[in-house]
Amino acid sequence: MTEEDKLLEEVTSAEYKYGFVTDIESDTIKNGLNEDVIRLISSKKNEPEWLLEWRLEGLKKFQQLVEPEWANVHYKKPDLQSISYYSAPKAKKTLNSLDEVDPELLKTFEKLGISLDEQKMLTGVAVDIIVDSVSVATSFKEKLGELGIIFCSISEAIQEHPELVRKYLGTVVPQSDNYYAALNSAVFTDGSFCYIPKGTRCPMELSTYFRINQAGTGQFERTLLIADKGSYVSYLEGCTAPSRDENQLHAAVVELIAMDEAEIKYSTVQNWYPGNKEGVGGVFNFVTKRGICHESAKISWTQVETGSAVTWKYPSCILKGDNSIGEFFSVAVTNNFQQADTGTKMIHIGKNTKSTIISKGIAAGESNSSYRGLVKIMKGAENARNFSQCDSLLMGDKSGSHTFPYIEVKNKTARIEHEATTSKIGEDQLFYCNQRGISTDAAIGLIVNGYCKDVLNQLPMEFAVEAQKLLSLSLEGSVG
C-alpha cells in the first residue's frame, strides 16, 4: 500500500465527530403534514392571521408540486408524512443571561467548540442559537438595538415587527418557487430575522448556529435578512447535526434583500451529519437561498460544504438594480457516499451588473460532487460581466465529479467567461514537496488548502479557522 493509499484509507475511515444527542425534553407534535398541523403550528406560535393564510397558501402550492428529480443525486425520497413538523425544547420562557440556559444545551455547544461565553468574550460575535427550530438564547441584542439593528428569531420578529416581516417575507423566494420552498413556507417553525437600518454598518459579525437534535424531526428554518439603503452586514451561519441512522430532512429558505447601495456578506459552514462510512443515514440538505440586489447593491455568498448525505443547494443572486454585484464562493467536500449537487444562479437584469463565481469541489471515497450553475443575461442588462471558474479535485478512483453550467445570453454587450477543470493532486506536486522534506500528509494539506484558498479567504476570520478545521475533519489524514 502506498503512502497515498494509506492516506485515502484514513480519509475514508474518518467518523463524524459531532455525533451525540443532547438530552433535552422536547415538545414534539404528532407526525404528518396537513392543514391541521399547520394551524396547530401557527396557533402554538401565536401567529397573526395573515401568516396562517400565507402558510396555507404555501401548503396548497406544495400539494400541486412534485419532488424534483433533475439533480444529479440518488436517494430514497423522504416520507414527508412521517416527519414531525414541530419540535421545541421546553425551555424557560424568558432568558436574560446564559445562566438560565439549560446546562445540557450549553454542554452541546461546548462540544462543538462554540461555547457562548467564549464566543462573547473572545470574538465579540453575537450568536443567535437555534436548537430544533426555536431560538433559545440571543446575545448582544441590546448593543445592536442601540444602532437600530434588529437581530432576533423570526418568530419574535413576527410578534414584534410584523410590518417588516409581512412586507418582505416571500418576496425573493415565493411559496410556489419549488417543492421544498413551498414545504418550508407551509411549515417553517423558526429561523433568524435581521434588519439593518439605512446607512448603518453592522459593527459585528452576526452569527447563527443550527442543530438538528430531536430524532425524526425535520428542520425548516426561514431566514430573512434585510439590509436597508447604504447599510452593510456580514452574516455567518453554521450547522451541525448529531449522528442519526435515518435520513433527516433539512429544507431551509434564506431570503436576502439588499436595498440600494447595501452590502450583504453571507457565509455558511455546513457540516450536517454526512452518514457513516457505509453511506447509511445522514442529512438531506435541500435548501433554497436567494438574494435580490437593488441599485449598486452587493450580495456575496460564501459556503464551505463538508457535511450532509445529499446536498441540493443553489445560493442565487438576482441582480435587479443597475451596477449591482453578485458573488459566489464555494468549497464542497464530499467523502464516503456523500452526494452534492450545488452551485449558483446569477440573473443579470440591471445594467452594468457583475457577477463572480468560484466553485471548488473535492470528491473523495465513493462520493459524487456536481456543480450546477446558471448565468443568465437578460435583454436589458447592458454591459453585464460574469466570470466563472469551477474546479474539481478527485481523490481516489471511485469518486465522481460533474459540471453542469448553463449560460444564457440575450444581450450583445455581455462579457462572459467560464472555465472548468478537473484534476487530481499531481504526483509531481507531491514529489516536489517530498523532495523538500514535507511529508506526503502535509503536502496534501498544503495543496488542498491552496486549492481552496480563493474561497477560504472570503470567510471572516473566526469562520476561516473553523472551516479549515472542518476541511481537516472531512478529509482527515490528508489535510495538514
Binding site: L394, S401, H402, I407, T413, I416, E417, H418, A420
Partner: protein, 438 residues
Amino acid sequence: MKLQDKLINSFEKFGQSLSGSETDSLRKMRTEGIEVFKNLGFPTTKDEEWKYTSLNKCIKRDYDFGAEFSLDIRSEDVDRFLCTGIDSYKLVFVNGVFNASLSNTTQQDKFFVSNLKDAYEGNSELFNQYYGTIADKELSMVGLNTAYAQEGAFIHVKAGAVVDKLIQILYINSDSSRSMMNQARNLIIAEDRGEVQILERHQSLSDEYVFTNSVTEISVGNEANVKHFKVQNDIDTASLVDSTFVKQGTKSTALVDTFVFSGELTRNNLHFEFTGEHAEAHMDAITLLKGSSLVDHHTFVDHAVPNCQSFQMYKGIYDEKSKGVFNGKVMVRKDAQKTNAYQQNNNLLLSDFASIDTKPQLEIFADDVACSHGCTIGQLDEEALFYMQSRGIPLKEAKAFLMFAFAGDTLKNITIPELKEQLVNLVARELKVDLELN
C-alpha cells in the same frame, strides 16, 4: 393530422411497399425504430437535451413523404454546391433519391463509394455487420430515421486502403411544388489503417419547406483516419436534424468539422465513442449566423477506455435575430484513466436580438485525467479595433479581420487546399470582407 401521427400511421403502408425487397433483419430494425419514435415522439423543450431548441415550428407543417418527387435537375444546379477544382467521388441525391448520372461512384478492390441501397443489395453481410450498430437506437429521431431511411451514402474502406480523392455527398431538394421531409442515412466504414475524407452538404433549391432528419454512422478501425466535413449553408426554409455517431478503435483519429452559415433550424448531434485506447477525436465548428436562424450543436464524447484524447473547438458569431446553442458533454468513465479532454466554446454576439445559450458539461468518474472546458461570450476587443483604425483600416474591415481571426482557428485541421480555400472564401463572404488571401 399531426406530423407525428402521420409518420406513425404511414409506416404500415410504407412497410408493405417494401415487402419482399428487404431482409427480415432490416424489416425488424425498421419496426423497432418506429416503436421508439411512437413511444418518445418528437423531442420537446421539456426534454433536457432539447431545452433550448424547439422543433415546434418544423413539425407543425405538413410534409409529403413517400410521394414521387420530380427527379429532373440540371447539372449546373448541382455543381454550384460542390467543391470544385478538385477531382472527387460524388454521391448526389435529388429529393432523397440517388442520382447516378450526376454522381461519380467507384467500386474498387480496396474501397468503394456508392448508394446505400445498392450497397445493401450487393453486400448484405457487411451491411448487417455495421448498419444500425453505431447509432443510439434509443433516440426518437434515430428511430424515425431507421424506420424510413432507404437512401444515403455508403462508403467502405478496406484495411490499409487510402481513398485517393475527396468524397462529396450532396443532398439536393429541388421540388418546388411540395414541402418535403427526408430521412437521409449514411454508413461509413473505415477498416484498420484505412483513410478517407468526406464532405457532406444538404441544399434546397426551392422555397418550399424541407425538413431533413439525417443519421450518419461512422466506424473507424484501429489506426484508421476519417475526416468528415459538413457544410450547412441552406436556405431559410430548410431545417436539418443531423445525428452523427462515431465509433473509434485503437490509435485511430477521427475529425468532424461543421461549418454553419444559415438554415432555419439546424441541430447537430455528434456522438463519439472510443472502443480502443490511444484514439484521438477532433470536433471543430464555425457558426456564422444572421436572420432568424437557429443552430444547436450538441456533442457527447464518451471516454470509456483509458488514454484517449478529445478536442472540441466551437466558435460562433451571431448577428440579427439568430440564436445559438452549444451543449458539449464529456463523459469520462471509471476506468478511462489518462484521458485528455478539452473543450472550448467562444461566442460573439453582434446584435441586440441575437442570443446564445451554452452548457458545457463534464462528467468525470476517473481521477487521473486532464479535463477542462472554457467558454466565453463577448465582443470584439475595442483596443484592437482602435489600433487597426489608427493604422488606416476602416472599422468595417477591422471588425471583419478580427472576426475572421476569431473563427479561423477552426480551419486548421483541413488538409485539402481546395476545400480550405472554398471554406475560407465562404467565411470571408459571410463576413462581407475581401481578405485577398489568394
